[in-house]
Symmetry: C4
Subunit: 125 residues, 4 copies
């Protein structure tokens, strides 16, 4: 493939970590995920900023998505500079120094059968 | 980040508030949501118009999405100029005076396990 | 709003009408839906063509989405020129003579709790 | 319809084959699907590459999506050059020699009620 694959800045307007789970394994714990794909030959430095309804944004959260790798990050696991609160509306902007592709997925097991949602994120730059 | 993030007009062709819920909390009440993200440094004035299958559109519903804030609105909560009827097909156009990012989500608990859908809205201007 | 809202041709690569339902009402019968929004001031003539894995396309199925109206069509209800078979992979192209916005949704009640998916369709012209 | 319909390269940043199923039929076995639509009059040669979190990409997996046909492929069924492991994060790039439309869908029956997700893939060339 020739040329860059994807975009350097993406936004996800939806964000919510369900505060309960009926599953007990990590896989079946309710989670909110951002999936990043870097098909290029250089590692991508990723900076994620979290936006809230009623206070200033938090971030950047820093990650590396290696060359020719995909990185599926759970917002549940974010810790530095601060955890992402559960049961709280948020949104996110994902900025990379290389073109990447971003998709948003939630697994929700608050009731005793899991639910899923997913959408391509919004390329914004 | 430099430059505007998002678009000023978005459309969502799907819309339906499930008329029943098995959940009793606000969180587990069936709902239809529009999520708006404004990463800019100016508040965004939002006007939402609701379209129906068999009658003229209703609106605008007016909201403000603050600078560097996200606003997750439930169509269930809309009241002025009129509530959005449950169990009725509708669609929506979201217009802002600043660039924003818009995503559409539904949580449906009509049967005793929740279901979710989500998609980026369609940027149209 | 000024200018056209949407596109004249859209494609949906996914299509599948689940052949069973646990729900008995029309609302909880498994269904595959295409949602069309026409915010313009002229009625939109819609032609939908259905593509299959192993035979020639079928169509056009003809509909009208009125000016300033939304039309949520169930593929389950298509009849002329032929019903869309259940339990069969298909895809669709939606062509309109006015700009419209198109979204794809499925409700699946094969197991005793509904599932949902939705995505914006792919604008192709 | 005139002109090409779709794009030649698409990316899906999300990918995960749920390792368990409560359904026993092929239809209700957990699966991850890529749906391809080729509305053109020439067969499309498809090459899919799978990306992982911690090792080099695998592929290409080769398929043909016939002229005026749709092809719904389960990653579960991929075998040559290697199966796609279950319970493992992955991503994919779909390259075609004709314009096509691509959509991503998952059916997850790990818990006793199915869940669905779907999104249009990301056009990247």
């Amino acid at each position: 493939m020739t040329g860059p694959v994807g975009h350097r800045v993406w936004a996800i307007a939806e964000g919510y970590i369900p505060p309960q789970s009926t599953g007990t394994s990590r896989e079946l714990t309710s989670h909110e995920t951002v999936c990043i794909l870097n098909v290029g030959d250089a590692d991508a430095q990723i900076e994620i900023t979290i936006y809230f309804a009623d206070r200033e944004p938090v971030g950047p959260y820093r990650f590396v998505c290696g060359a020719r790798r995909t990185l599926h990050l759970r917002f549940n696991d974010f810790s530095d500079p601060a955890p992402v609160p559960k049961g709280t509306d948020f949104a996110s902007v994902i900025a990379a120094d290389q073109p990447v592709v971003v998709q948003h997925t939630r697994l929700d097991t608050r009731q005793p059968a899991l639910a899923l949602l997913s959408t391509i994120a919004c390329p914004v730059a």
